[in-house]
């Protein structure tokens, strides 16, 4: 039989039992729909995290005090080295790969001015910070080397702070009070949004680290050192180099542990990425179970159908159908049903993930790959679960099939 005839015959017999076909397909529809929605949620979360990672900066490397945690367990309290301004300067001076370095001094504080006061984080950084974070200004400018060296009382506001203290206006040139010290606002940063873990990256103000250490907090400890390379290819070498420079700077003996950690921004995000990947897989796996159940539904109906249509099979064989013709007919029927169900499932999954993202605000991503895989999968389900009933039909003896009542 020609392929087109086969599909026609299969469609005809599927259409002869509309209600049953519909119910049979429902399993596949729900299964595929669920897989699409679940994968859309998972991939949406992943792409959101990727976006957030990209807002961290470009080719960023982070040096933090303390040994790296492995499997969530710190490798001992003795391996802890404070970071110093000297470290940052040494990295900047000696590194071949790193183009920008900034220490980060950090303190929680109240900023008073404009509409009132706002509790936020004050970060003392160097002029390179803006380059490392790849952070554009909305108003004004970032501070320069001279202001850094002279410990000027200047400040760049994060977007959230600016919006809260000076809603809808350009505060450049105005003065705010930080710990009773008047500080001039010289710039406002563009918004960057939330991090993957949900902290507002814009709820922050920046001042020269010299100013923060001496005038604004009295807290001189360095929270982290940020660095960046011109090209992402240099990141691994830069990390190695920074490590070597740090070890030398701290006089760490050959076999002692580092006591600090050098990571790049992907390392930072990896844990979170890993979690969502697992989540995506888990969701897809759960959804696949309903696809499996749908497949078993098809098999069940096809078995019933073979029994019910034994006489039809007998007639077809009596007029010259080979076993293979009967096998193909039933197989095509189950494939048509599962693929049709899969297609409807894809449509429903699509609509479902859109509605879901509108209702919940979650990011959902439906890619053509997912659709192809879903369709291929449902065809596979049709073949897999249709094969046994089809083979049973094909193996029937013509005379016995004809006698069947």
């Amino acid at each position: 039989m020609k392929a087109s005839t086969l599909v026609k015959v299969a469609s005809q017999s599927i259409l002869k039992n509309k209600m049953r076909t519909l119910l049979t397909m429902l399993g596949i529809v729900i299964g595929v729909g669920a897989v699409i929605v679940m994968v859309a949620i998972g991939q949406g979360a992943q792409s959101q995290i990727q976006e957030q990672i990209n807002t961290l900066g470009t080719n960023m490397i982070v040096v933090t005090p303390g040994a790296s945690r492995q499997g969530g367990v710190s490798r001992g309290a003795q391996s802890y080295n404070r970071l110093t301004i000297k470290d940052a300067e040494k990295i900047k001076r000696e590194s071949l790969f790193v183009s920008a370095v900034s220490p980060v001094v950090f303190s929680r504080t109240q900023v008073i001015g404009g509409q009132g006061n706002w509790r936020t984080t004050i970060n003392g950084v160097s002029t390179d910070y803006q380059i490392i974070r790849n952070w554009d200004l909305k108003y004004g400018r970032f501070f320069d080397q001279i202001e850094l060296r002279q410990m000027r009382r200047v400040m760049v506001l994060g977007h959230t702070v600016a919006e809260n203290l000076f809603p809808g206006e350009d505060p450049v040139g105005l003065t705010v009070q930080v710990r009773n010290v008047p500080v001039e606002i010289i710039g406002v940063l563009e918004p960057k949004g939330q991090t993957a873990s949900g902290t507002d990256q814009d709820d922050v103000v920046f001042a020269p680290y010299t100013t923060v250490q001496t005038r604004l907090s009295g807290w001189s400890r360095i929270f982290q050192i940020l660095a960046s390379t011109p090209s992402s290819n240099d990141i691994p070498s830069a990390q190695e180099e920074i490590r070597a420079i740090m070890r030398e700077s701290h006089g760490i003996s050959r076999f002692a542990e580092d006591g600090f950690t050098v990571r790049n921004q992907n390392d930072l995000a990896e844990a979170e990425q890993g979690t969502t990947e697992v989540m995506t897989l888990l969701l897809a796996a759960i959804a696949s179970i309903s696809l499996l159940v749908g497949g078993i539904g098809i098999m069940n109906i096809m078995l019933v159908s073979v029994t019910e249509r034994t006489r039809e099979i007998g007639i077809r064989m009596a007029i010259g159908a080979r076993g293979r013709d009967v096998l193909t007919q039933f197989l095509v029927e189950s494939i048509v049903m599962s693929v049709l169900g899969g297609a409807i499932g894809v449509a429903i999954g699509f609509a479902g993930s859109n509605i879901l993202s509108q209702l919940t605000g979650w990011n959902t991503v439906t890619s053509p790959t997912t659709i192809m895989i879903a369709l291929a999968f449902s065809a596979g389900v049709g073949i897999f679960f249709g094969f046994y009933p089809a083979r049973k039909a094909a193996a029937l003896n013509p005379i016995e099939a004809l006698r069947h009542e």
Binding site: M1, K2, T5, V9, Q12, K16, R311, E312, G314, I315, R316, M317, A318, I319, G320, A321, R322, G323, R324, D325, P398, I399, L402
Partner: protein, 239 residues
Amino acid sequence: MERDLVMRTQGLTKVYTMGNTEVHALQGVDLTVERGEMIAIVGASGSGKSTLMNIIGCLDYPTSGTYYIDGVHVENLSRNQLADIRNSKIGFVFQGFNLLARTTARENVELPLLYDRSRRKIEVRKTAEEALERVGLGDRMNHEPNELSGGQQQRVAIARALVTNPSILLADEPTGNLDSKTSVEVLALFQELHDQGMTVLLITHESDVADCTERIIELRDGKIIEDKCIEAAKAHLTI
């Protein structure tokens, strides 16, 4: 004149085994059929008529014996080869019509052509319509079996048997489910096909049906007990 044989069986036996008991449905049947013959097989119920017919129709295997159709040795063929013989050389008409439900007359008749492997490029639709016209159902092509009378359904079945232009037309009590008037019409159709050169082998219970054929074979207990030609008295059916 050289005899042109359509089929020949020799020593055909069929044994059904049911638990401990064996039923010898056929006990050595020798039968030759010439091209263009019309033969009636008669016999009491249980005498093995259907069993013989199913073997001739390649629906069933004999227990022993040989069977040729159109020069092809059938008893050793595979399932697939038997399917092809059924498709190309045999037209089978059943007592219960055996049409596909919810399928139009034309589609039913097209079916054997769709399974045809031997011929290429047959105009399926046209050939099926011609066959339906031949049995006088040119105006019922798009009717489904449940929209047709018994006689009409049997005509569709006959058209389906004819459509591949088989070597032999087999009919197992084709009028068994029909009233007497319709039976006469259906038999007249067989007669007409026979007159057009078709070889017809039919099983019947009714003696008046048998009387309108040229040759009557009687079975009893799986054996042919009589094989008579009534050439002279070649009776034609009157409607």
